[in-house]
């Protein structure tokens, strides 16, 4: 009876999912309700988790509940620690959820809501969740080894080295891009800048409270910090209305870029835990709270999506970023569908906390499902706006025009009605002077989120507060990633330099700290500066570069996973990782080719350099710099592709060798030890 009911229940989920996916795929013309996306996503995730992840768990990975995990065998009360599966799930989700699943889908909404939604659902269920799950399990079976170590042991030395270089390259590009997003969100916005500036004294106060008043009570002080941040957001409106104060907190993009670089260097080189650790806690608190609140807001309001299913920009002429739907939609949306960076978390802290092998399914596959749901929420937030407003916010002045009237005329001519007055009215409603050309995705997401929140809680009069809450949430979040990412990259460079000259590897030796911090900040600062000075807004060139780098790291992770699956005598099931790998190779290599060699100067780095070089003589220093930057971006893309090609060749040699019997099939797992939990459970 129970089996029949369960069967009928799952048939119902499948029918509802098919109907919802069908509705959003076929529907054209009239706007649709966001609940269709929610229903489609919920059903796809439920079916993917129940059936596909179970298939992988039983048929391929053969999860063994009797095998002791490193958390049990190597338990030391610090990094190796047996932890409740739901606690590990929360910990893992908090580590993988960043600005990527929010920003990428907002940018990709220029193609319409359909491509992004389909890629987020299919990409997560068949690729992203699978990658996170298998890498987590393989790391658990290897004493919690990192992706680079697994690549070295299972694929070869080349694989390990390239995975290491790819991680540093991605970190640098990522930090440059996310810093640019903060700059674009804060420039000429005294309200937003004041709110972010206030997080510093608030964090210091939290640090003093944690150290002197209630040691270790982080949740308590984070709640207090959150209340103070809300007060700062509320107070920000008075700053923006006061001429003298507003002037004090109004910065141009280059000034903000310099301030952020100084912040990044100080955060990496100085012992400032009293500021950084509380800010990190505050950021996590706001992040988890806001994601939950947004989910409730979307279900409660179930807004209408005004963006069409597909826009005319699928042909590659989009103003937000240039390039056709294939491959650029799949590069732009990284973290919501598949992110190579997740493989680092799945082979970092998480495998050292897993109590039973069987829990890797829920933590690895399940947490990525939750991350993908965040991406669906971002798509909804971007698409609830009228398309004209969306394009006015996200398009650079170099594409749509320098004045409000010119911008409105350009966007209206695309079939998305817009007036300068409606933009002014929206800017006024959110407490900004202007919302034109706020590229980067963060302001557009903030407007969408403010729209959803203000309709659910508080009405139109709270629109400005919600907008600045959203901007604060994103900026705080990104600044935390900037300081944490700079320090992680600094440690990685120090570890490598330690092999060349031992003192450079000492993480407490100040000359080494200063030199490596300067090196890392200089590297991402270069990309940030390039973006700030780019007449096309920077996002056009830098976000695809980040997407390519991130997906190439996923390619490395899937190569490692496929190699291990073949070594485990499961070659007949290798398609589970091989198909996403083939798709990613097609996407990343095509995108890389376009970014390097496409004849359109809006798409191809070299084409843009050629067009600028053919311009008037004598060339200005700014033009010369843009030409150099384009050539540099092309070179970076080329180097990444060559490196990943080497990993692919190395992996393919392994696969062919094993399948033809020329190589020994032996996985390098830690020895089987029976778990003590089996005896405890009888």
């Amino acid at each position: 009876m129970n089996r029949t009911l369960a069967f009928l229940g799952w048939v119902g989920v499948a029918v509802l999912g098919a109907a919802a996916v069908g509705a959003i795929a076929i529907h054209r013309g009239e706007p649709i309700n966001a609940l269709w996306l929610v229903a489609a996503a919920s059903c796809c995730y439920a079916l993917g988790y129940r059936f596909y992840s179970k298939f992988i768990a039983t048929r391929i990975l053969a999860l063994d509940g009797l095998r002791a995990t490193p958390a049990e065998r190597l338990e030391n009360g610090r990094d190796f620690l047996v932890t409740n599966k739901w606690v590990v799930f929360g910990h893992h989700f908090a580590a993988i959820a960043g600005p990527g699943p929010l920003v990428g889908p907002v940018l990709a909404a220029q193609f319409g809501y359909l491509p992004g939604t389909m890629w987020v659902l299919a990409g997560a269920v068949f690729a992203g969740c699978v990658q996170d799950f298998v890498i987590l399990l393989f790391s658990v079976r290897r004493d919690g080894k990192s992706l680079t170590e697994m690549a070295k042991n299972e694929v070869g030395r080349v694989g390990g080295f390239i995975a290491y270089v790819a991680v540093i390259a991605i970190l640098i590009i990522l930090l440059g891009v996310v810093a640019l997003i903060v700059v674009n969100a804060l420039k000429a916005s005294p309200w937003a800048t004041f709110t972010i500036a206030m997080t510093m004294p608030i964090a210091l106060m939290m640090g003093i409270y944690l150290r002197r008043i209630r040691p270790g009570k982080v949740l308590e002080v984070s709640t207090l910090g959150f209340v103070l941040v809300l007060a700062a957001i509320w107070g920000g409106q008075y700053v923006s209305q006061n001429v003298a104060l507003a002037k004090l907190f109004t910065f141009s993009a280059p000034t903000l870029a310099i301030l952020i670089m100084v912040y990044g260097f100080a955060a990496s080189a100085l012992p400032v835990w009293m500021l950084l650790a509380p800010r990190d806690y505050l950021s996590t608190f706001v992040k988890l709270g806001t994601i939950g609140l947004l989910a409730v807001g979307i279900v409660a309001l179930h807004p209408t999506l005004h963006m069409p299913a597909l826009t005319r920009f699928v042909d590659g002429s989009g103003p937000v970023f240039a390039g056709k739907i294939f491959p650029f939609a799949f590069i732009t949306i990284a973290c919501g569908a598949i992110s190579g960076f997740h493989a680092l978390i799945s082979s970092g802290t998480t495998p050292k906390m897993i109590a039973r092998e069987t829990e890797t399914r829920m933590v690895g596959y399940g947490a990525m499902v939750a991350e993908s749901a965040v991406a669906i929420m971002a798509i909804i937030a971007a698409c609830v706006m009228q398309p004209g407003l969306y394009f006015a916010i996200n398009s650079p002045a170099g594409i749509v025009g320098q004045t409000p009237e010119a911008t409105a005329a350009t966007i209206s001519s695309w079939g998305f009605p817009l007036t300068a007055a409606s933009m002014q009215s929206l800017a006024h409603a959110v407490g900004e002077q202007t919302l034109f050309n706020r590229t980067g995705g963060a302001p557009a997401f903030a407007v969408g989120m403010a729209h959803i929140f203000s309709h659910s809680l508080g009405g139109e009069r709270l629109m400005a507060l919600w907008y600045h809450f959203a901007i604060m949430f994103e900026a705080l979040f990104i600044l935390t990633i900037l300081d944490a990412g700079t320090r992680v990259a600094r440690f990685m460079v120090q570890d490598a330099l330690g092999h060349v000259y031992q003192p450079l590897g000492r993480t407490s030796w100040y000359p080494s700290i200063l030199a490596t911090s300067g090196l890392i900040v200089g590297a991402w600062g270069y990309f940030l500066w390039q973006g700030v000075k780019d007449p096309l807004g920077g996002i056009n060139s830098l976000w695809p570069l980040f997407g390519i780098a991130n997906q190439l790291l996923a390619t490395v992770a899937l190569c490692v996973a496929t190699t291990i699956i073949i070594k485990m005598h499961r070659a007949r099931y290798a398609a589970v990782t091989l198909v996403p790998l083939a798709w990613l190779i097609a996407v990343t290599f095509t995108a890389s080719w376009h970014k390097m060699f496409d004849p359109s100067p809006r798409v191809g780095f070299l084409a843009q350099a050629r067009v600028l070089a053919a311009g008037p003589i004598p060339m200005t220093s700014a033009t010369a710099r843009v030409i150099f930057n384009n050539r540099l971006d092309a070179a970076v893309t080329g180097v990444l592709v060559v490196m990943v090609t080497l990993v692919l060749v190395e992996s393919a040699r392994q696969w062919i060798g094993i399948l033809t019997g020329a190589r020994e099939e032996r996985v390098k797992e830690s020895a089987f030890v029976r778990t003590r939990f089996a005896e405890e459970e009888g």
Binding site: V218, A277, V488
Partner: protein, 66 residues
């Protein structure tokens, strides 16, 4: 009816305690408790400073995703 209510109450309590434990892990409160247990000391300003010194570098090496 009574047993159903009891089951719901037990389930709700379990959800709350698990959520609390997850938040304590995410916000490093659990790591601090473990540190105090390991060192056999009570919570104090000095103990927290020692915990931060031991914990900071390991935490700084953890990647955070995009």
């Amino acid at each position: 009816m009574k047993s159903s209510l009891k089951r719901i109450r037990i389930f709700a309590a379990k959800v709350l305690s698990t959520t609390r434990a997850a938040l304590q892990e995410v916000f490093d409160e659990a790591a601090y408790s473990r540190f105090l247990n390991r060192a056999g000391i009570a919570s104090s300003s000095e103990a927290y400073a020692a915990f931060r010194r031991e914990f900071e570098e390991a935490k700084m090496r953890r990647p955070k995703c995009c």
